[in-house]
């Protein structure tokens, strides 16, 4: 089903006068790259609708040569469910949200899209940045605990894959990182499987990508990658959790 392998700068990035609006070391652009390369390889760019969430991922839809929408904070899953019901099989809906977007403001849209089994693909770019999804611990070293978290009652990380695992409407769940070339390839495979399941109309599918956010973690980009593998992947294990092993 792969039409042609791609490499280099994804064709779907529009060339922009200004630089990318991400902090140095931010991996959102790498997370989007896994999606763009998959769309190019499967030759779906004519049918894809890219829905960006709020927060840091807000400017992404403007930078892509795809039909897209900058959705309000947290509501991209709802808008994706509605679009899928109108266009059915003729459109591929991809929702790209960060963790505060999908797991805090967007708790209700995400869980009920999964319960309804709407065949959309949600890419959860989890960079533990807002502390809303429970990261009361900043990485190791003398980093202070992110101030937003009140100590006596810290939230405990929400493991969205664990929550959605038993819903019948959910057809595919996987979690990967992009902190090394091998991880990047695994994550791309997960994204491709998720989109193929959407084409088959199998149900709701979600791929969580653990990304680095050096600015808010007060770490250098290289240290952030190391932290993801050691600390973050420890609490949020990687791999395919539901509907794995291709179509």
């Amino acid at each position: 089903m792969i039409k042609e392998w791609v490499c280099g700068k994804p064709r779907l990035w529009r060339d922009r006068p200004t630089a990318l609006p991400f902090c140095p070391g931010c991996q959102h652009s790498v997370g989007v790259r896994t999606v763009l390369e998959t769309i190019e390889e499967l030759g779906l760019e004519g049918k894809t609708i890219f829905l960006g969430g709020g927060g840091c991922v807000y400017p992404i839809p403007t930078m892509l040569d795809l039909d897209g929408m900058q959705c309000p904070q947290g509501r991209a899953s709802s808008i994706g469910s509605a679009l899928k019901r109108i266009h059915g099989r003729e459109a591929i809906i991809i929702v790209y949200q960060d963790d505060n977007d999908g797991l805090a403001v967007g708790t209700e849209p995400l869980i009920h899209a999964a319960l309804r089994g709407d065949p959309v693909t949600v890419i959860m770019a989890n960079n533990a940045s807002y502390g809303s999804t429970g990261w009361q611990m900043a990485p190791a070293g003398n980093q202070i605990i992110p101030p937003e978290m009140e100590k006596p009652n810290p939230s405990i990380p929400i493991n969205i894959i664990e929550l959605l695992a038993e819903f019948e409407g959910v057809s595919y769940l996987a979690r990967g990182t992009v902190s090394s070339p091998e991880d990047f390839e695994d994550t791309k495979r997960y994204v491709r499987t998720a989109i193929q399941k959407q084409i088959a109309g199998a149900g709701f599918n979600l791929v969580e990508i653990l990304l680095a956010c050096p600015t808010r973690w007060h770490l250098t980009p290289r240290e952030s990658l190391k932290w993801i593998r050691e600390e973050m992947a420890g609490k949020l294990p990687l791999g395919e959790f539901k509907g794995g092993g291709g179509i």
């Binding site: 049918k47 609708i49 039909d67 929408m69 900058q70 109108i86």
Partner: protein, 365 residues
């Protein structure tokens, strides 16, 4: 062919005849009958019916339906209307057409389960951020529910802006005669802005919808101010060309009643009785609560008429009385019949013709 029908169902048949593709809302008394009508009638016809999980989700699911180019309607009642401003503000910002039917219930807060007219201000000067405007239509009979829904779909697509139908449950629950004759409007040709996937557009170029024009620039709106100028002109054009109102026995009226919805039907009854007793009274009934028909009111004010605003809300605080005060601009005396003049203290109380006639006589001395 004349039929007997409930206003709630007339809203549904009107939407169907206007070519509505998708309906999504959340059950809240007193508009459950509208939700149930769409649940019965839409799926067998291959149209989309979706019961959302809350009113916030209703507004954003409708934003998704409309972004895909579907003609979409939603309905709610007062307690749910409090959750709509965020969604409405984003839909206005992204310039998307949507029809919202709002059945007013006693407020504020959880309020009663029966009728009221207390959401006039939150519909005409909306509560969402950004100070935008929506056209607001006020039907007061089953036939008008049927006609105004079709008009609402046309106006929303003409201006790419939501349109609100404001009605009371004691108008839409009544079985009345109506005639199902679809109205024809020339809708704008095609929705070039809708999201379908790049290849399915005629020019093959990708589309971008956004509700944050202060953060993004597009070819259509290169800068934030050009976008705001465009919004401002759109609202001004609506003010200029979409005012609709109805007058009843107004030519020689010395006292002008201003009312919409069920209080307008009460006022017509009062005018008949008043004229029988020699008091020259007339009614101005705004069909569009926004843009507000200030012109006929100003003309009668300059002729020296007095005004009686009949609205089932806390009149002194605001609502229709504020708009009449703006139109009259100090030239005439305005008195009010409000929810405090209801016939019984329970939630089912209403404004009866007797109380309005009593106030009318007091003024016309």
């Amino acid at each position: 062919m004349v039929e007997i029908m409930e206003g709630n169902h007339a809203l549904g048949w009107g939407a169907l005849d206007a070519g509505c593709d998708a309906y999504c809302s959340y059950p809240v008394t007193p508009q459950n009958e509208v939700v149930e009508w769409f649940a019965r009638e839409f799926p067998p016809r291959g149209k989309i019916f979706l019961q959302s999980t809350s009113e916030i989700e209703s507004s954003f699911l409708c934003m998704g339906f409309v972004a895909g180019g579907a003609r979409t309607m939603t309905s709610t009642a007062s307690p749910g209307w409090g959750l709509y401003p965020e969604g409405m503000s984003h839909i206005v910002a992204a310039e998307l057409p949507l029809v919202v039917a709002l059945l007013m219930r006693g407020g504020p807060g959880q309020g009663t389960t029966r009728h009221s007219q207390m959401d006039y201000t939150s519909a005409t000067s909306p509560g969402g951020q950004g100070g935008y405007r929506n056209i607001v239509l006020a039907p007061y009979s089953c036939q008008e529910c049927y006609d105004f829904v079709q008009l609402a779909f046309y106006l929303s697509e003409k201006y790419r802006n939501p349109v609100i139908l404001l009605a009371e449950p004691n108008v839409t629950r009544v079985l009345e005669q109506m005639e199902r004759r679809p109205l024809t409007f020339e809708y704008p040709p095609d929705k070039k802005w809708a999201l379908k996937g790049k290849a399915r557009h005629s020019d093959g170029k990708s589309r971008l919808l956004t509700s944050g024009y202060g953060l993004t620039s597009t070819e259509e709106h290169p800068s934030y101010l050009s976008y705001l100028k465009h919004l401002h002109d759109k609202f001004e054009q609506m003010r200029a060309s979409e005012v609709r109102y109805e007058q009843y026995e107004i030519e020689d009226a010395r006292v002008v009643l201003v009312a919409y919805g069920y209080t307008a039907r009460v006022s017509r009854e009062v005018i008949k009785q008043a004229r029988a007793e020699g008091i020259k009274a007339g009614l101005i009934r705004p069909l569009t609560l926004w843009p507000f028909p200030g012109e006929p009111i100003r003309k009668k004010a300059e002729e020296g008429a007095k005004f009686l605003v009949v609205e089932d809300n806390l009149g002194e605080i605001g609502g229709l009385s504020d708009d009449v005060r703006l139109a009259v601009a100090g030239r005439a005396e305005i008195s009010l019949v409000t929810a405090l003049d209801r016939h019984n203290p329970g939630e089912g109380g209403s404004i009866y013709p007797g109380k309005v006639l009593e106030k009318l006589k007091g003024i016309s001395q």
